[in-house]
């Protein structure tokens, strides 16, 4: 479980997050939603210790992220941030293999190679694995970065807009894959925390939702409680219709 206690964050003079307190449950997919500039990425980066914590406390399975050694955290939390720079001399397979670094510290063994093979197969990257990263499209790069996060083999995987640039097919495959690996009781059950804008993916696949607006927590809870017309309309500041198809909420926001 991730516990976020009274976390505030300021960049320059503008407050980004104000007094966030919430919990993110172990197992399943937790979606961070909210309009642009709500502080979703900042919160994710704080949990992943990519941004130093200014005030408050964040613990992941009772480990304090601001004091635990970064090496130790890398075996517990994997993170796929947004807009990662791509070096031109890196092949897809090399990038994915970097996900094993926390386990071998530069000396990969056979089981590391096996894990990389598995991840490459799971993310449909076989045909691309020996291509240079800067020769690929944004969506293909995105899949490689997610594969790198998953191959790190951690309890927690944090993703900042993993569906960015993906086509319909790959967006659905990726989400379904993440969903499958986050079921409790499976052999290697992970907990996924991701920032998502595609609200219907949240409706279809998320187990828990944390909604932010203007740096404050608006609502957190299971999808059927959060994905209602009043909450969503207020959150995004526009009229939103929610209908039910085959028993699942479908959000109509584009018409």
């Amino acid at each position: 479980m991730i516990q976020i206690q009274n976390v505030s964050h300021v960049i320059g003079k503008s407050p980004i997050l104000t007094g966030i307190t919430t919990r993110i449950p172990r197992h399943g997919i937790t979606a961070l939603i909210g309009p642009n500039g709500a502080g979703k990425s900042t919160l994710l980066n704080l949990i992943a210790r990519l941004t130093p914590l200014q005030s408050g406390q964040i613990t992941v399975d009772d480990v304090d992220v601001s004091t635990a050694p970064t090496q130790e955290l890398a075996l517990k939390i994997a993170v796929v941030a947004q807009q990662l720079g791509v070096s031109s001399r890196l092949r897809v397979r090399d990038l994915v293999a970097f996900g094993r670094w926390p386990h071998h510290r530069g000396r990969p063994a056979q089981r590391d190679e096996d894990a990389v093979d598995q991840a490459i197969a799971a993310f449909d990257l076989q045909a691309l694995q020996y291509r240079f990263l800067d020769e690929l499209s944004g969506g293909q790069q995105q899949r490689a970065f997610v594969a790198m996060g998953v191959v790190q083999d951690t309890d927690w995987v944090l993703l900042d807009e993993p569906l960015n640039n993906l086509d319909m097919y790959h967006a659905k495959e990726l989400t379904a894959g993440l969903h499958a690996m986050s079921r409790p009781g499976t052999e290697r059950s992970r907990s996924i925390v991701m920032v998502v804008h595609e609200i219907n993916y949240v409706a279809a696949w998320a187990d828990h939702i944390v909604a932010l607006k203007d740096g404050a927590l608006v609502f957190s809870g299971p999808p059927d409680q959060v994905l209602t017309e009043p909450i969503l309309s207020d959150l995004f500041g526009m009229p939103i219709r929610v209908v039910s198809i085959d028993g699942k909420p479908v959000i109509l926001h584009h018409m």
Partner: protein, 314 residues
Amino acid sequence: MPDRRLLLLAGLLLAACSFFLFWGLKGPVGFILELRVVKLAALLLVGAAIGVSTMIFQTVTGNRILTPAIMGFDALFLLIQTLLVIVLGGSAYIGLLGPAKFLIETAIMMVAAMALFSVLMGRGRTDLHRMILAGVIFGVLFRSLTAFFQRILDPSEFSVVQGAMFASFNSVDTAQLALAGVVCLAAFTAIRPLIRALDVVGLGRKSAIGLGLPYDRMVLGLLALVAALVSVSTALVGPITFLGLLVAALAHSMMRTHRHALLLPAAAMISALILVSGQAIFERVLRMQSTLSVIVEFAGGMLFLYLVLRGRVR
């Protein structure tokens, strides 16, 4: 088994070295050879220092344009020298013992470079354009400040500084060379265990921290090593501005890899190769009628342009 391309480079370098040592050898053989060996050692040392420092610097800053020299690291070194002459006076400056002076200069240089980078990288790191701009402006600032201080120097004291201003392998002090060798060796020994971690640093700050690398501490250490290597090479022969840029681009386009275990030796050897063959042409073909940096930067610049236009350098 070592990489084939590295073996090829090593072979070329060996050929260039023997060419430099034995071509046109006549007269008192022992005496001339001794002179040439000292010069060759300096060339190899400076080449390796510039190649490795530029490669590490570019990995740390995540860019392929900026080098320590373009950022004015060597201008900073000249500024320190000039200020030392002003503060101590020319005679006292010369009176400083060789090794002591060298070590003091290197230490000041490392501290100054790290201070500069902590300021520059604190916020600007994520913004490459701003960092390059700031870097180039700092370079100009250091050069202008140096020029200003040199203008207010006494002419006799100016001549003391002048010796350090131009790249020259013709007056290498053996005591200084030995010391430079020790500093270089120490820096390379410190870099060796970090080679694998450098690959991770190349992924950028976010990915590196995510993979459990104590990134900020590591970068500071690496920049200190870069500063040490730049001071060594500048102290030994003076500034060679564009060699680093050229070498890093050549090493990248030749090795086509992200692995520093291959990139660093390649950069060191390419850089030494360019210097040794440049100096050989300068001495034997042009009969000293130019300066080494003109040859290196002219020939190297042409090669670089060719590669850029052919799309080989990215």
